[in-house]
């Protein structure tokens, strides 16, 4: 299509972008993590990270990120599967994508009202005769709101990989006498696993570093690494410690990327291809 010798010029913006906005920030974060408050070179921050407070915070971040991802998959997979069967796929898909255009904070604030003692959620519970419950500031509300916010990022890649599945394969499986369950287990699931993996990356990693929702919806009863980073930078002004936590967050991300990485060339993995 294009003369191959010209290609490096087209790649220049990409390389510039990567250098300025990916490599430089990560390098800066790594650099700052070796300094203490008074600007001395030290490994103290790393030692500090391995104290019980931060280790337990890491564990709890992982636990909640895991819950959020799990519930996202449980809801997104059947939804995506149903979507591929509907007549106006693109319209339904659009309806799912539109809410993700609205600012995350606005949606979060809306939930403060919805989950409040006098909000619609509690009115419904009272209507059912269960009575008023404390919904806001609980683990439940935190996971619920997070799943609500992340779900489009799980549905899209799963939908893409399911939609690209060759229907002939499913017909073949049926013809050869496989039950629907076996077809799903042996054909659909393995072929669409790429979408699930991309979805996990798009949900699990941001979920690890959530911070506004932990205060607004969970009332700081859920503490994640994101909360700690925010505090270190804005309150304590301890950029070194904040950077150290960020370094670990980046490490965790790489590990997750590796675990969910694609070995085959399925071509169904890109979240952005719609």
């Amino acid at each position: 299509m294009e003369n191959s010798s010209k290609r490096p010029i087209y790649l220049l913006p990409y390389y510039l972008w990567i250098a300025l906005f990916v490599i430089t920030p990560i390098a800066l974060v790594a650099y700052f993590s070796f300094f203490d408050l008074s600007g001395n070179l030290t490994l103290e921050n790393y030692r500090n990270f391995f104290t019980s407070v931060y280790l337990r915070m890491t564990l709890s971040s992982f636990w909640y990120a895991f819950l959020i991802t799990l519930f996202s998959i449980l809801i997104a997979y059947p939804t995506a599967y149903l979507l591929t069967k509907t007549k106006h796929k693109q319209l339904w898909l659009l309806l799912i994508i539109i809410p993700s255009w609205i600012n995350l904070l606005l949606k979060t604030y809306a939930f403060i009202g919805i989950f409040g003692l006098y909000g619609p959620a509690n009115q419904f519970l009272e209507f059912l005769g269960i009575g008023q419950q404390q919904i806001l500031f609980t683990d439940f509300s935190f996971v619920f709101v997070s799943v609500y916010i992340f779900i489009p990022f799980m549905i899209l890649p799963i939908f893409n990989s399911l939609d690209k599945l060759n229907p002939a394969l499913i017909d073949a499986s049926r013809d050869l006498g496989a039950s629907s369950w076996t077809t799903f287990r042996r054909i659909i699931f393995p072929l669409a696993i790429g979408g699930v993996k991309s979805g996990v990356q798009a949900v699990f990693i941001p979920a690890l570093s959530l911070f506004m929702i932990t205060r607004l919806i969970a009332g700081n009863k859920v503490i994640t690494l994101g909360t700690a980073i925010e505090q270190q930078f804005l309150v304590t002004q301890n950029w070194g410690m904040g950077s150290t936590i960020a370094v670990f967050l980046i490490l965790f991300m790489f590990i997750i990327m590796m675990l969910t990485g694609q070995r085959d060339k399925g071509g169904t993995t890109n979240v952005k291809t719609k």
Binding site: G219, N220, I223, L234
Partner: protein
């Protein structure tokens, strides 16, 4: 390819038009007076009408921005992305900014309205002679509560009342390390400027047992929560309590006997200011008796402006919950600047408290 070119042209044309529109708008707002000043203040901490009045009187345009914590404010001023001309930090932050040469001295000859200020609020230890700062508001930390949602006779004369088992899941705390850890220290009879690790540890351990009563640890949302009766008890600043009471008259406010925090927010001029003249004019304007009275009325915090208090509703001024008389102020403590090291320690303890709240 054609499409891409067409889209690019349209985008460029639209952005060009928008840029032109913005420049038109800016030209019309920037009048020929003495330019603009940028004011950096806490959220909901000024009557917006007063900004307009100032603009009309002086022809100086005000660019107004808000911050949520002293620390965030200092970080932003230090980075120097925007040069602010006036800011309203609290006393310990002023001390810190003074140490790091972030302030310009204030020329008292340009602030004739300084005579309106109650001498009690001048020449305080954090800024002797008010060389760098001029009083704006002051207040305390205490407990706001809604008696209609509580058992009869529940009072908050002591911090320990917060630990009452009857308050299960009813208490909201401000998300701020010094206020919460300070409350723990005060409840044990220690100073809220304590730097003794054992005392801090003891206070944190005691705070952890408050867990079952804690509904949430949140920011400014506290005001809305109390107004809508989502929560019955809140550890908060006096002015926030006044905000709550403004809407929901059932709410009451109490400063416990063991002592609490007395704080001052003063106006300062950062070293990075570009319009020092305008900044002085603004500070002087805010100290005008009528302006200060209107502002105090709107904001709800306590004003140090003696001339203004004479113009205000006597009921407000005599309310000892918000204007504690001097002998009562004796049991209140002003935050000292404990240094970044110690602030870090307070925050680690606060984090630990959040992680380990018993449920």
């Amino acid at each position: 390819m054609k499409d891409i070119i067409r889209i690019s042209i349209v985008l460029l044309a639209v952005s060009g038009l928008l840029l032109y529109a913005v420049s038109l708008l800016e030209r019309s707002s920037a009048t020929t007076g003495s330019g603009t000043i940028s004011v950096f203040n806490w959220g909901e901490y000024i009557d917006p009408e007063l900004i307009e009045q100032f603009e009309e009187e002086t022809n100086i345009q005000v660019v107004y921005e808000t911050f949520a914590s002293n620390e965030a404010m200092m970080t932003k001023i230090e980075q120097g992305g925007t040069s602010y001309d006036v800011a309203m930090p609290s006393e310990y932050a002023i001390e810190k900014m003074k140490e790091s040469d972030m302030l310009l001295p204030i020329d008292h000859s340009k602030i004739p309205n300084l005579e309106n200020i109650d001498p009690y609020f001048l020449d305080l230890p954090f800024d002797p002679g008010n060389e760098y700062s001029i009083p704006y508001f002051w207040g305390t930390v205490g407990i706001a509560f809604n008696p209609t949602l509580l058992e009869d006779g529940q009072t908050f004369e002591s911090w320990d009342d917060l630990w009452d088992p009857a308050l299960s899941q009813e208490v909201v705390l401000v998300d701020s390390a010094r206020e919460v850890i300070g409350m723990g220290l005060n409840s044990l009879g220690y100073s809220l400027n304590s730097t003794d690790m054992d005392k801090l540890r003891e206070a944190t351990e005691k705070l952890k047992t408050l867990g079952p009563n804690v509904k949430a640890i949140i920011g400014d949302e506290i005001v809305e929560m109390m107004r809508r009766e989502e929560a019955a008890v809140a550890l908060t600043w006096s002015g926030q309590a006044a905000d709550m009471m403004w809407i929901n008259e059932d709410i009451d406010f109490s400063v416990p006997q063991e002592g609490s925090n007395l704080w001052f927010d003063n106006m300062i001029i950062p070293a990075t200011a570009t319009n020092v003249e305008g900044a002085h004019a603004f500070i002087n304007f805010m100290l005008d008796a009528e302006v200060a009275a209107q502002n105090a009325d709107y904001v709800g915090y306590s004003t140090p402006n003696e001339a203004a208090t004479e113009l205000m509703d006597p009921e407000v001024i005599e309310d000892e919950r918000f204007y504690p008389p001097e002998e009562l102020r004796g049991r209140l403590e002003v935050y000292e600047n404990l240094g970044l090291e110690m602030l870090g320690v307070y925050n680690e303890f606060f984090l630990e408290f959040k992680m380990d709240m018993e449920n």
